[in-house]
């Protein structure tokens, strides 16, 4: 029996998960931690096994983007948004990851999510070698 999308997003949106991923002092460290994180890997596997869940994760990302009670400050959901963008960019159809990245860049005061979105979009503009 697999862990559900809801179970995984609950962990990723928890205070403890966010705190543990806000300690990094560089994007490369943050990115490396996402790649090695057990819960992120579980989510990635879930989306690979059940592609229909990709849309659900994109919806959740958009919902979190809109939740910011204090827009002058760092976005409170930066870590889960970055996590979901990371997973979408690794497993989903390009369109979903690009849509997510564009939404992220249109939202103020994101940190890690913004850096990741820039990379996702930059990679899309690089023509593939034949």
């Amino acid at each position: 029996m697999h862990t559900s999308l809801s179970d995984l997003t609950t962990v990723i949106e928890s205070i403890e998960f966010g705190a543990n991923l806000r300690v990094f002092s560089g994007f490369n460290s943050f990115y490396g931690a996402l790649r090695e994180n057990h819960t992120i890997n579980q989510l990635q596997q879930l989306l690979a096994d059940y592609p229909a869940e990709n849309e659900q994760l994109l919806l959740r990302l958009k919902t979190l983007l809109a939740q910011n009670d204090e827009p002058r400050y760092a976005h409170p959901h930066d870590v889960p948004i970055a996590s979901y963008l990371f997973v979408l960019s690794n497993v989903s159809h390009n369109e979903l990851a690009i849509e997510a990245a564009k939404k992220v860049l249109a939202t103020a005061n994101l940190i890690w999510a913004k850096r990741l979105a820039e990379i996702v979009l930059a990679e899309q503009t690089v023509p593939h070698e034949s």
Binding site: A19, V23, S25, S29
Partner: protein
């Protein structure tokens, strides 16, 4: 994949030797409430952890030491900073207050830096206390090995002292 940020869009800090300008990131401030909530998480993980500051101004561990808490400087630049500011490697058993400790992650990459504030010699062992800023979160006083596991392990020690080898421990 190129993960280093684009230096062309950044403000910079100049190193002591004046040979390098290190880019700083434009990072938004966190709310004090967020910093306090995260600090409670860390204090539940690490009982001896002392919360020093919940300053919402955006700086990180590198900016705390090399820019007087005025900037966010990616940890990727740490070796350039140490070299250009004339820091030298020093053995752990010879560190004193004011020296620096560099933490590395499992990939052997620099992940965190802290300022040593006290070294108590207890027989053959040392109790080393450090001040460091934990990324986007608060600034803490902690024992050298007692940090969030994502910050890595204390691996290298640096001093700006010119004659560190002659200072008694």
């Amino acid at each position: 994949m190129v993960l280093l940020s684009d230096p062309s869009r950044k403000k910079t800090i100049r190193t002591r030797s004046g040979t390098r300008e290190i880019p700083c990131e434009d990072v938004p401030a966190s709310t004090i409430e967020k910093l306090q909530i995260d600090a409670q998480v860390f204090q539940s993980q690490i009982p001896d952890l002392i919360l020093r500051s919940v300053d919402p101004y955006p700086y990180n561990c590198v900016g705390m030491i090399f820019a007087s808490r005025r900037a966010w400087i990616e940890i990727d630049y740490i070796y350039e900073l140490l070299r250009a500011d004339n820091y030298k490697l020093v053995p752990r058993e010879r560190v004193i207050a004011g020296d620096l400790v560099l933490y590395k992650n499992q990939r052997d990459e620099p992940s965190h830096i802290g300022l040593i504030i006290a070294v108590d010699q207890l027989g053959a062992s040392q109790n080393i206390k450090v001040i460091s800023k934990w990324g986007l979160d608060a600034e803490f006083i902690h024992f050298i090995d007692k940090v969030n596991s994502n910050l890595g392990k204390p691996t290298e020690f640096y001093t700006d002292r010119e004659h560190h080898a002659h200072i008694p421990i």
